[in-house]
Amino acid sequence: MQSNWITTKRKGYIGLMRGLMALSTALTCGTALFLIGYVLIKGLPSITWELLSTKPSYLAGTIGILPDILNTVYIIVATLLIVLPLGVGAAIYLTEYASSQRLVTVIEYAAETLSGIPSIIFGLVGMLIFANSFGSCLLAGALTLVIMNLPTVMRTAQESLKTVPQSYREGAFGLGAGKWRVVRTVVLPGCVDGVITGCILSAGRILGESAALLFTAGFAHVLNGFLSGLGSPGATLTVALYLYTKEPGPGGAQASFAIAAILMALTLTINFAAVLVGRIFKKRRAL
């Protein structure tokens, strides 16, 4: 019925748009599938327990990525420990305390600027500020990553604070609670989901980061405990991937694809975790 009054020209337009959509979606998915498949096929066979559980030995000519795994964990933990109070605090200030709209605009603009800065610039500045003053070490890397991830944590916390109903706050104030008490008992619990989402997003970003860490956190593959690890130079998984690509040595090429495959699996896990957390909190809120 409809088709009776649709002109050929319109049909052509519709067909063209459909074609372009199909082509684009196929291209996007094809590229993603190809990249995932290529890395997994090249990397999975090289993932062995030995690779995961040892440190590299030049004498034996073996490569192990346990130190890199630990370094990655350390740097994520250290970054989150520092960035959470800063980001959540900033979000609380913006949503609960700030009275001057101009200041809010300035802070939000600063956060946007920060999130637009390329990681290579973070790396340079991190080198100038942190690494040059107390040496390349995981902590210098973590502090650089703190600046990098501050806007993400701030924004996700802010988003979730906005969903805390105003009536809760008013209710608490009405009962005579002071501002700090309202923030502590009503507002803070309300932004847990935002904080968790922020953590997941930041962890994902840290996991994939190389440029910002190359100039700040060093490259060593040495087994360390948490505190001594923060004080010494160390490569995260992505930096190790970079290093093994750059200076392969014996077994380095396989190791780099193995690390790439592991990173990809971790990224997938993180994506799923983010979706899952989002869903759980949505459900809880709906109740």
Binding site: W5, T25, A32, L35, G116, P118, T238
Partner: protein, 289 residues
């Protein structure tokens, strides 16, 4: 309220104010550090010679520090990535936001976020092993490491941000607009492209600017596929970007060379600030519009 309690409240207010200002402090810190370390070399070389000089020979006996090739390469490379990436991203986004069945949408979206999560080194590595030899054979050029290879890698890398932001913008278009268009006799496809897309245009513009930001700031991946020689940009030539100029020489640099690298970073930073202002402009318009 007791005096003591008021003091505590004020103190806490102060602490939160401080935490809020940390972000601003970080931006100022970065700006100040980049300006302080970027200015000396520009002074010594001369602003015009630095920005408009077309030869970069940082370690030659008589070094010359002209970064025009880097600036142009960054602009061309980013423009090229946008040229390829934006249409593909846009059409994919329309499909995802309006037409795709929920299951397909979920699968494609997780594929897209996986693309976003792949470390740039992996893009570089796969590009080196697959894309560069591919371009060499396809176009019968002596070597495939070129501006084109970098453009393709960048186009793929900016896809996720373009798709995600565009989908959000398209989904936010009020249902009434589309209903009205459909009621007037437009087909769904016509509605999506002639009504929904224009209505979401500032959001899509923001997506493009975000893509530009990601493309202009990428270093590790393009360094491995672009050949990295400071030539004036041309599609099949080996080229060097602003970012790769900094990343490739920083480790070994000393003296004026090192300072000049910081000056390049300063130029890159100014580009990014400009982009951010543009992004803000589009987002603001979206809020008002």
């Amino acid at each position: 309220m007791g005096k003591h309690q008021r003091f505590i409240e004020n103190l806490i207010h102060g602490i939160f104010l401080f935490l809020g200002l940390v972000t601003v402090g970080c931006v100022l810190l970065i700006t100040v550090y980049l300006i302080l370390s970027g200015i000396p070399a520009i002074r010594q070389i001369g602003l015009l010679d630095f920005l408009l000089g077309d030869t970069w020979e940082s370690t030659a006996k008589e070094p010359s520090f002209g970064i025009l090739p880097f600036i142009l390469t960054s602009i061309y490379g980013t423009a090229g990535a946008i040229l390829f990436g934006v249409p593909v991203g846009f059409f994919t986004a329309v499909y995802l936001a309006k037409l795709a069945p929920p299951k397909v949408k979920a699968v494609v979206e997780s594929a897209v976020s996986l693309l976003a999560g792949i470390p740039s080194v992996v893009y570089g590595l796969v590009g080196m092993l697959v894309l560069v030899p591919g371009i060499r054979q396809l176009f019968h050029v002596p070597d495939g490491a070129s501006l084109l290879a970098a453009i393709i890698v960048l186009a793929i890398m900016i896809l996720p941000s373009i798709i995600k932001v565009s989908v959000t913008a398209l989904e936010a278009v009020p249902q009434e607009y589309e209903d009205a268009s459909l009621a007037l006799g437009a087909t769904p496809i016509e509605t999506y492209f002639r009504v929904s897309a224009p209505a979401a245009k500032s959001g899509i513009a923001a997506a493009v600017v975000l893509g530009v930001g990601r493309a202009i700031g990428e270093a590790m991946a393009v360094m491995m596929v672009s050949g990295n020689v400071p030539n004036m940009p041309s599609l099949f030539q080996s080229v060097r970007f602003l970012t790769t100029a900094v990343a490739s020489e920083m480790a070994y640099s000393s003296g004026l060379q090192r300072q000049a690298l910081f000056s390049i970073a300063l130029v890159l930073y100014l580009f990014v600030l400009l982009l951010n202002a543009a992004l803000n402009f589009f987002l603001k318009r979206k809020k008002e519009g």
